[in-house]
């Protein structure tokens, strides 16, 4: 067993080392956030982390948008993490000499509005009632999420980001950012995402929400802290988790292997016969420990509603205003966010003459690939960022 000192030394050496989540309070009344679904919200607390240092010119900031159930903890460890704790969710991508090189770039990641990991969401206390919002929380959209994150970057003194990067729901935020604040980003990296959620995606979200709402412990969202629709939420996660994998990755990882026996038990009630069942149950159980059911309802709805095409008439209208350079990537085994959907974005960007690169990456890991295939991301994102940054430096150099 590693001593506390050894442990903290390895953690200091790897990636960004020990990090802290910070809080910012934005949209303090009367400067409420005006929400897309009507109504106003404020004050809004935002949980965020930063890695690396901002240059005096404030030109090296990269904003990471997390996916559906992610959080602000993208890299490093917390001081009080126990031995088994994993680092931030994109740790392999972030740090000195890594793809998002913290010796060069200032990396920001924040929990989304409506989330449950430090940023104001349905589980937060409504200052007007001193009670949790629960389902009294206003409806939010991807646009509202990006409004808050954009305000956070301004709060940090940054007018323009070198890049905004994200996968899945994070990729939707990247596209929204380019549409809503076209001058605020120089680069947009959109991984395994789409300009609108597919009907299939909406369908899976609907099943997840139904699982939560039909759990007797859901109590119309009025469940107490620490209680709640545990089984429904776990079931929602199990379903969603299947959509993040691929046929091939499930086959590779589990095949038809049995969990506890060498032969079938021919018993109906035990739920774990195959290894894949055990895995899904485990995923569901772990998820319930860290996620709020009401947040899940709000965020999946925000995802369902996201539709740049219908909102702006066309993707060209939506994305035509920015001069940001785009890097779009899909994965060949991703059936939740397909290559066809990425190509739709690419086609629109070509049509309006934007700087766009696209690649379909090969990976067996399905939709989850963007969290796993770090080396592939490194090979394309590193030169992309270097180019974006050197162009930025060249443009901002005072005329001699």
């Amino acid at each position: 067993m590693a001593t506390q000192q050894e442990l903290s030394e390895t953690r200091q050496d790897s990636g960004v080392g020990i990090v802290q989540t910070r809080l910012a309070t934005l949209f303090a009344p009367p400067n409420w956030l005006k929400l897309a679904g009507g109504g106003e919200l404020g004050p809004i607390q935002v949980a965020y982390e930063t890695y690396g240092a901002l240059t005096p010119a404030k030109d090296n900031a990269i904003f990471i948008c997390h996916a559906l159930t992610g959080d602000a903890h993208a890299a490093g460890y917390y001081e009080d993490d126990d031995e088994k704790a994993k680092p931030g969710w994109w740790d392999d991508l972030i740090g000195p000499g890594r793809t998002l090189d913290t010796d060069k770039y200032y990396v920001i990641c924040a929990n989304v509005l409506g989330g449950c990991q430090g940023t104001t969401g349905p589980g937060s206390i409504n200052p007007e009632t001193n009670q949790s919002y629960r389902l009294g929380f206003p409806f939010i959209t991807v646009g509202d999420i990006v409004e808050v994150h954009s305000a956070l970057t301004k709060h940090l003194g940054i007018d323009q980001l070198l890049a905004v990067i994200g996968g899945s729901l994070g990729g939707m935020q990247v596209l929204e950012w380019a549409t809503r604040f076209p001058d605020q980003l120089r680069g947009a990296i959109c991984l395994a995402s789409a300009a609108q959620l597919s009907a299939q995606g909406i369908a899976f979200n609907a099943v997840g929400r139904r699982a939560i709402k039909t759990d007797p412990e859901f109590k119309d969202g009025e469940y107490e802290v620490g209680a709640g629709p545990r089984y429904g939420l776990a079931l929602a996660r199990m379903i969603a988790h299947i959509t993040y994998l691929s046929d091939q990755s499930i086959e590779m990882k589990f095949g038809r292997r049995l969990q506890d026996h060498d032969t079938f038990t021919y018993e109906m009630l035990p739920e774990v016969e195959f290894q894949v069942e055990s895995y899904l149950h485990y995923q569901g159980k772990r998820f319930v420990e860290r996620f709020d059911a009401n947040s899940y309802l709000y965020l999946t709805r925000a995802m369902d509603y996201f539709d740049l095409l219908s909102q702006h008439g066309s993707l060209v209208n939506a994305l035509g205003k920015t001069d940001a350079r785009f890097l779009i990537a899909s994965y060949d085994s991703d059936w939740l966010f397909t290559t066809t959907q990425s190509k739709e974005i690419v086609r629109a960007l070509i049509e309006c003459g934007k700087h766009v690169s696209f690649i379909e990456l090969k990976s067996p890991f399905g939709h989850d690939s963007f969290l796993i295939e770090i080396e592939q991301l490194n090979k394309m994102i590193t030169p992309f960022l270097e180019q974006a940054y050197s162009t930025c430096l060249a443009e901002n150099k005072p005329a001699s």
């Binding site: 690419v346 086609r347 070509i350 003459g353 696209f358 690649i359 270097e386 162009t391």
Partner: protein
């Protein structure tokens, strides 16, 4: 491995071909390069011609190299056509030393004149005398500086002479605006016995007024700025 080199062969005439292509392109144009490799030509077009550029490349290593030059690049297989490129999105589309390697050259040429006002195509000329002589003398598939492969490992699937290419353009109703034979690494605009002497040819093509309409051979030759030697 064949796929590794497929759309960006090493070529002794590379520098000269690039220069020829550069000269054809009006400053400030929007240019698509099919099989752009590491984006070498596009980077020059952007810097020297102020062009707005896009590359297409199948090989992932070349793709990364293009990104490293700051050249936007779409990963795509030219054998699948250009489904992601909207009609008329470009002023020029370039296909250098690649047409002979694609599965469906006829369809690709049609796609090219769909997506751009003008198409610049560089192809090896199978009518060259060295090739003819080799076939005639040795009765074997030719191996030359321009076509340095054995029959079993060549990436070149469709070989054509200048006459063959002209015939196809006539069939497709695509107008040949210019035909520039490349002889011993030099572009010679009005070459004598071009189909016998040229190792490569640069064609400047333009889509017909009404797409798909077949035009008579008289019509094709009537519109030329430079006459086509036959």
């Amino acid at each position: 491995m064949r796929a590794q080199h497929r759309y960006c062969m090493q070529d002794p005439s590379l520098e000269m071909t690039d220069r020829l292509l550069l000269e054809q392109i009006q400053p400030g144009s929007r240019v698509l390069d099919l099989g752009c490799g590491d984006g070498r030509l596009l980077a020059r077009l952007r810097e020297e011609r102020g062009a707005s550029v896009l590359g297409m490349e199948i090989d992932i290593t070349q793709h990364h190299a293009a990104i490293a030059r700051g050249v936007p690049v779409i990963q795509a297989d030219l054998d699948e056509g250009l489904p992601d490129i909207p009609d008329g999105a470009f002023d020029y589309v370039v296909l250098s030393q690649t047409l002979q390697q694609v599965l469906h050259p006829k369809q690709l040429l049609e796609e090219m004149v769909r997506v751009a006002k003008k198409a610049l195509v560089v192809v090896p000329n199978f009518g060259n005398w060295r090739i003819r002589l080799q076939v005639l003398k040795q009765g074997r598939a030719p191996v030359t500086e321009v076509l340095p492969y054995e029959w079993y490992n060549t990436p070149n699937l469709h070989l054509m002479s200048m006459h063959d290419f002209q015939d196809l353009m006539r069939l497709l109703g695509i107008e040949i605006l210019q035909e520039i034979p490349i002889i011993n690494h030099r572009a010679i605009e009005k070459a004598w016995l071009a189909n016998l002497r040229a190792q490569h040819v640069l064609y400047v093509l333009q889509r017909p007024e009404s797409p798909g309409k077949l035009q008579s051979s008289e019509h094709v030759s009537a519109g030329h700025s430079t006459p086509i030697p036959r």
